[in-house]
Amino acid sequence: MNHEPPKIAQRLLSTFLKDDLKEEVLGDLQEKYENMLKTTSKRKANGNYWYQVVNYIRPFALKRVAGLSLFNTIMFKHDVLISLRSFRRHKRTFLINLLGLACGICAAMLIYLWVFRELSIDQFHAKNDRMYQVLQNAETSAGIMTFEYTPALLASTLKERYAEVESATSYITPDYFEGTSYLIKEKHFFEINEQFVDDGFFDVFSFTMHHGDKRTLHNGPDYVLISESMALKLFGITDVTGETVTFQNELLKKDYKVGGVFRDVPSNSSMEFDVLLNLKEFERMQYDYYFNWNNNSPSTVVVLNDKVHLSTFNKTIYNLVEEFDANAMAKLITQKFTDRHLYGNYDDGQVVGGRIAYVKLFIIIGLVILLIACINFMNLSTAKASTRLKELGVKKTLGASRWSLVKQYFTEAFLIASIASILSLILIAFTLPFFNRLTGSALQLQWDFRLVLGLAGITLLATCLSGSYPAFYLSKLKTLSSLSGRLSGSLNDLWIRRSLVVFQFTAGIVLIAAVLIINRQIDFIQNKNLGYDRDNVLYFSNDGIDDSDVKVLFEEIKNIPGVLSAAGASHNLTGNYGRTGGVRWPGKLPDERLSFINIEAGEGFIETMGIQLKSGRTFDEQYGNDFRDKVIINEMAAEKMKLQNPVGSTIVLWGNERQVIGVVKDFHALSLYEPIEPNIMILSKSDLSQTFVKVQSTAMRDVIGKVESVYAKFSNGSPFNYGFVDEAYKAIYSGEQQVAQLSKLFCGIAIIISCLGLMGLASFVSERRTKEIGIRKVLGSSTFSLIQLLSLDFMRTIVLALAIGIPLSYYLSHQWVQNFAYAIQVKWWYFALVTLMMFLIFSLTVLSQILKVVRTKVVDSLRYE
């Protein structure tokens, strides 16, 4: 009895298998299939049949298909020769095509390299498909916010409770610390990024050791692991196991033994650290509340086994925190660890994209630029075709098939694309450092599989895009009409060519508009009035300064000429330093939940940052008890709490009654992505991590040096680390900055390419009409009317492109600015500006070419040809 193997597989096999092999192969596979059926399931047997069929796709077994050999050598050589000759004859067209394509390929390659890198982030972990980061969603007054910080006991609890959790780790990232951390060796300070990790860390992440054993770290409290390059920096060699170094950060200062040296964290890791410490060392420095379930400090990542049902798992842990702390507002969710880099934005507790938007945007931009470059090629070669019509006609008369003509044009396109891609490699080598600086990445031009694949792919794509239309359009022409030299341009062909140019211009318009609007928006954000004055404010971290010295330090700093005021705080108004929900106020409903941004600040902070007081007074230590039972709130907080007379009313913060002594005007304590939230400020005497100094703008340079020398008196050797508030604020928008810079770059490339094409086309069209112009001149045409005649066609195209491009770019920019809580108005005159720029470009390229022809002396133009 015979069974029937999968039909589709059989059909596939017979499409490619040589006829004389059919009998034996089909026989063998049938026999195998029957054998399989005796021992296993039908599904497995079918699967194996497919496997065997696919494995017959080998050169020896493939049919020879007549006429498919693309590289029939003699014809191929001929095609190459003809192409090279035509390049030489039409040098200008060739150069324009080559330059355009090279720029296009270069842009596409840069984007390809960048995108590839973005996609490879964190993929090097061996368990990457099973690693999940546990995040928490917390309700705030601004909606549900998602944080990566989780309760300290979460990792161990997850591992104990759930069989699905194969391993779990809890670690403190370098971001946790506001101050700078150092390794100190013989009084030399080396800045580091330290990470405190528990003993599950290496079970989850695949970081490898260079010297020593990674388990040493958790054998005792006295060991650290350092990176290879850190070892080189400190000791000059990599094998430094057993050496002693001093570690210092804002929490602790202690001598450690180097337990081992790990290989540098790969550049495609989202986690960056060069020193690993035992998490127990961190926990030792914390108070008991560190282990409370409503305290969130470490990050938690788990590896789930492959049997896990993710949505069920998510459901089971969603309310986990509540079990331990009934008051906790946090809900747990998980996100695949490798997705965190590209999908890092959350809204209302859901993942809403992130960098992936840029990745997609740039893929589109890359394709558009490549397409623009290819359109140049199509237009110029179809336009030039009129001069090569005779060649075409003769070939056809001699019996060339349409297919061989198509091949010829593709060969030409392929040749030019290949030369362009070689040229683009040189361009990339030059532009890559610049590109890296713009994107803040470390891309390299390395000859590897990836680069070759990308280059080959892009070259082929360019060939297909640019070769297809000329090939099929020209090979279609009638023999007779091509011999007689008349191009009977049917309406259809004209329409295609014109729409290609329109597309090119529309893309140009959209890109110019994009650059304009992206840059306007970023300017707007960076210069927006935030409700405080961030200019000329210097800040530095209080590393190494004893609390008892702080007061003297302030006095000395205030005495420096040029310093207007100084204050301490643990919040620099640019980042997310946490919120609190522990506030009660008169008239609060039992289930009303409101979270406040809490800022602990020293005396004078409000004045130093230029935050404006609306009513009441600011903190003043002279009153003696401001730091114990007083509080300052912002307008938003007063409004949300519905306090009629905020100044003087009493609220309860963390169980203690505090009197509101002042209300400040709303200001942005976070980035402009977030709307203004209720703030609460309390005076704090100690534990302020940073000092802020307001300086007269003219005195800044002198003051920095003087502040540094004051700092050095108290810092016990810690280096002076300072920054400016306005720069810290700009840094929040570095993502937008990069996009703005890149959009300028790529838009520039696109416009250059389109201009090249347009120039080529314009010069060609007008040269063709040289004689006509000569005759018209003799008959008395004015220069103006000649220009009008020649440019009318281009003019129409541009107007059409504007008609499409302006509404399109209006729509797109409108969509984009919606991402911002505070966005510019998209105004009409942006588009007027775009239109103006288009006409400027138009006149520079087209008119210059036309003028050249029109200005030719009548005698010369009549003698032309």
Partner: protein, 107 residues
């Protein structure tokens, strides 16, 4: 000595053809390979090697023996040629001579 023209896999397949005698067709050779080495191999991979060995003149083949479980199709049965035997012997001798020079296994 002249370098043998056999790859490792080729040599194994050639030997298997000799072992299997009149049952030496692609499927059986693949199965024998799997049971002797414990490694998985597709029939196509074996078949391509067989055809390469035939081209080199180490194997000949003929079609015979249709059976019902093959859907009435014949199979191609391979046999080693004289030059195939020669190349196998050469390869063995070459390896033996290398083994004999290995000091750890000295006489």
């Amino acid at each position: 000595m002249k370098e043998t023209q056999l790859g490792n896999f080729e040599e194994t397949v050639l030997l298997l053809v000799g072992i299997l005698e009149d049952k030496a067709y692609a499927l059986k050779i693949a199965e024998e390979f799997e049971s002797q080495t414990g490694r998985k191999v597709s029939i196509g991979a074996v078949h391509s090697t067989l055809s390469r060995l035939t081209k080199k003149g180490f194997l000949t083949s003929e079609m015979k023996g249709a059976s019902n479980e093959r859907g009435g199709r014949r199979k191609r049965v391979y046999t080693i040629t004289a030059s195939g035997k020669h190349v196998l012997i050469q390869s063995r001798e070459f390896k033996m001579s290398l083994w004999n020079q290995l000091p750890a296994f000295g006489h």
